[in-house]
């Protein structure tokens, strides 16, 4: 699974993009893998939304191996 990191999430992960082995599952399962690989994301988890293939993931949405997932910390445009 391709992961994109933005803003504080990129700072915490130390990268802007990564490949993460993920067999598929919900946001809970994905966060477990993300935090295993990037423990410094932990403080951001509560405020960071996940986007799947360019759209915010709905509650309960499932993520699959081929998805592009973006970590979206609180936005601050404008």
């Amino acid at each position: 699974m391709r992961i994109l990191f933005f803003a504080q999430a990129a700072d915490a992960a130390g990268t802007r993009e990564a490949s993460l082995p993920f067999p598929g599952g919900d946001a809970e399962a994905l966060w477990t893998e993300l935090l295993r690989a990037y423990p410094r994301l932990a403080p951001l988890r509560a405020t960071t939304r996940l986007a799947r293939n360019g759209q915010y993931a709905a509650p309960g949405e499932r993520f699959a191996e081929g998805d592009v997932v973006a970590l979206i910390p609180p936005v601050s445009g404008g």
């Binding site: 933005f6 803003a7 915010y56 601050s76 445009g77 404008g78």
Partner: protein, 125 residues
């Protein structure tokens, strides 16, 4: 009309007049000289560009329909934006002024809540 760009946002922005539209409302969000009480020389912005672009288009369409605006322009600058220059430009054309005013206000609220664009750094003076 949605654009993300790294150059200065033009003023005036080239907006096409429409014969039915008696109102053109515009907004420039300008980088201020202080951030968190400290003097700065610029702010840096980044975006998840394809998602931001697509969401801005959808938002412009949704709010144009909701308020009865005929045309919406939204431009966000990315990268380093010096103090005194605009990070965002928004314009709405509508038959009557209230629609255009309401759109600008709603659009900015939604943008600040949901569009994947970030102020990543303040560069000190």
């Amino acid at each position: 009309m949605v654009a993300l760009l790294t150059e200065p946002i033009p003023r005036p922005y080239p907006v096409e007049a429409l014969p039915q539209c008696g109102a053109l409302a515009e907004f420039y969000g300008i980088v201020r000289g202080e951030e968190a009480g400290e003097p700065i020389r610029a702010l840096c912005y980044e975006a998840y560009e394809p998602m931001a672009r697509q969401m801005l288009k959808a938002l412009a369409q949704e709010l144009a329909t909701k308020h009865g605006c005929h045309k919406v322009y939204v431009v966000h600058r990315l990268g380093e934006v010096p103090v005194g220059e605009a990070a965002i430009y928004l314009a709405a054309l509508s038959p009557h002024r209230k629609a255009a005013f309401a759109l600008l206000s709603d659009f900015m609220d939604r943008l600040k809540a949901d569009i994947p664009i970030w102020k990543t750094r303040a560069l000190p003076l």
